[in-house]
Amino acid sequence: MISLRMDAGVVRSHLRRWIWLVPLMMLLGGSISTLQAAKVGDLGELNLKRQAIRFLSFKDPAVRHAVLGSALIGISCGLFGCFLVVRKMALTGDVLSHAVLPGVALGFLWNLSKTPPYPILIGATLAGLLGIATVRLLLNTTRLKEDSVLGIVLTVFFTFGVCLLTMIQRLPTGSKSGIDKFLFGQAAAISSADLWMMGVIAVLAVAVVSVLFKELLATSFDAVYARTIGLPTRWVEGAFILLLAMGIVVALQAVGVVLVSAMLITPAAAAYLLTDRLNRMLWLSALFGVMAGVLGAFCSFLGNNLPTGPFMVLAASSVFACAFLFAPKHGVVTRWWRHRSSTVRIRMENTLKSFYHVLEARRFEGDGVSVLELATRRRETLDEIRGRLKELVDHELVTTEDDRGVAFLTPSGWKKACSIVRNHRLWELYLNHAAQVPADHVHDEAEKIEHVLGEDAVRELEKKLSYARVDPHGRLIPDLAQIQKGLPTPSETGRVTGYGR
């Protein structure tokens, strides 16, 4: 009597829903086995604690520089990165950050030393701007697509920088230059002069973003329109690129060439998921940038000669992961949770509907509905029906007498069942009349709609259909007014009427 149907489509849809678990398992398994093989504890716990205390006490000037510098970088990268993310220019940031390397090398060659940092900074900024100019030139003069052009400029400029770097390292003064620290960053190497530059750029970033906020907003949102209202879009974009280049260059010391684009993108992407307004996004992004910077500096301090860049990136990515999963409106986990709860609600409503149908089939005589009848109508197993009824009992819409295998609707259950059926049949009528959907097709559409029709929509429908009484299949539509008034429970009158006489 009751048959279980599990067709291939159901299997495939289940598979598709859970397939993402497979790579997750791979990732977990890989990390666990790697960690095990690495035996993290080998790092030497005494050293860790000592370093941690040394960091947190702030007595060491290197530590103070590192923390302050990382925080300042976090602010500038966070602010600039917002615009890269909303303009879908993440790869441009990547190109800029790689293109500066030859400038760093050439700047170093000016004085053959890292201090004062100004030649390096100037050289790096110029190299970055040259890179962007080359990208524009290639795009305008060839038919190469944007991704190829960006890839070419990124790697060729970087390679040129590497070439210079390896040549420098063969010089007598070269190997101690500390210039290779520019590849992955070393916050502990931040000098006072570096700190000054970072401070200046951070202040500039905040100033420009606040003063030019509306120009930046309009240009990023709809550059063409911005031009038509007379905004100086070329100047605004030029100023932005220049500032971005300078921001990248001062961040190089701490984060390194390879990963600085991540410090631009990741905190901003996390902020993007958490808010719907650009100004809030800027605040959040700066905050996340500071958090990532300081945390990264701290972690790299714990070990011996560890690069700072990767730790900052990992810190930023953890923030991103939390935002991605748990963001209040758009987080993956929050959406899954909401979906689950709406699935439960829909399931309960469907059970109530079946209740109504069973009662209607016997013209509302007798009040109880046997579990067997429900199972037959819904074509599910007895166990499944019992599970659904339990859900309804929890919500006080149904009461059961388990020894007799019978269930009854409570007054609120009855009201709800009537509303659901009413929505369904009204919608069927509407589809049939207004949308000319043939009577044999309306049922499926109504099945989907009925759960999401709100009160006002239902009233609108009723008005449009002139308070109709009968649905396309000739069945009566429960009267909303009657339902609202609160009908007597079935057992009191002995005869249930869901509709007017």
Binding site: V86, L212, K214, L217, A218, F221, D222, G230, D276, L278
Partner: protein
């Protein structure tokens, strides 16, 4: 009518790119206070005409004047409603932010929108019946609602000449009638509107004047004069459908 009275004057405008002509020798004088529909097949240069008129693409030859001045000097008097696809609707702004952008041209470089600007923006939103949505992020809007937000932004510019690129594309019937009502209201206030349109039957009812474009001006004048089978045939290059041929034949026989 002196030159400075004409909202739009186009002289021998030619636009070409990649060795292909897009517009060729366009001459146009649009009178004030008219609702003009721009019609033509795909690739006819309708959007390019608007963009050239707005100074977004440089002409190969010819010029465009808005109220007697080159457009760059008169941007404040021109409003633009671009196609909806031109924008990333996931951008973190709400409806009010977008409409306020229409005011940015009137503010200077360092000034922020003030109370007056916000009130004006709210008024514009009300005119397009989008005021209840002022705080909503723009990705949560339907196609018709997004179009109305763009219109409100253009209204907030408070210009005298408006260019609109396919404002009726992909909107529901209710929005379409609301938009055309708004356009008529704007026309009655003395604004001049040029609207790129894609649907022939409605074009006859919506617009006072029609511009038939197919790289050159095929015809420009009052709708009744321009909307004829011969001229449409010329503009669409024989691409009119069988249905409209039959409809036209029926009409000519006076049935």
């Amino acid at each position: 009518m002196s030159s400075s009275d004409l909202p739009l004057e186009v002289h021998d405008l030619t636009v070409a790119y990649q060795k292909k002509s897009v517009l060729w020798g366009i001459d146009l004088e649009v009178p004030r206070g008219k609702l003009v529909g721009i019609l033509g097949p795909n690739g006819a240069g309708k959007s390019s005409l608007i963009k050239a008129a707005m100074g977004l693409i440089p002409p190969t030859s010819g010029w465009v004047k808005v109220f007697g001045l080159p457009i760059q000097e008169n941007l404040k008097r021109v409003g633009y409603v671009p196609q909806r696809e031109s924008v990333d609707w996931d951008f973190p702004v709400n409806v009010m932010d977008v409409v306020l952008m229409g005011r940015y041209g009137h503010l200077g470089l360092f000034r922020r929108p003030g109370k007056k600007d916000r009130d004006l923006a709210r008024e514009c939103l009300d005119r397009v019946q989008m005021l209840p949505y002022a705080d909503r992020q723009i990705s949560n809007l339907s196609g018709g609602q997004q179009q109305r937000v763009f219109l409100a932004r253009a209204l907030a510019q408070d210009s005298d000449l408006y260019f609109m690129d396919e404002p009726f594309a992909g909107v529901d019937a209710a929005t379409e009638s609301a938009i055309i009502e708004l356009l008529h209201e704007m026309k009655n206030r003395g604004k001049t509107l040029l609207v790129v349109h894609h649907d022939l039957p409605t074009a006859r009812n919506y617009f006072d004047m029609l511009l038939l474009l197919n790289m050159r001006v095929v015809a420009f004048g009052n709708t009744a004069d321009v909307f004829t089978y011969e001229l449409l045939q010329k503009a669409y290059g024989g691409r009119l459908t069988i249905l409209s041929e039959v409809a036209e034949a029926v009409r000519q026989r006076g049935l």
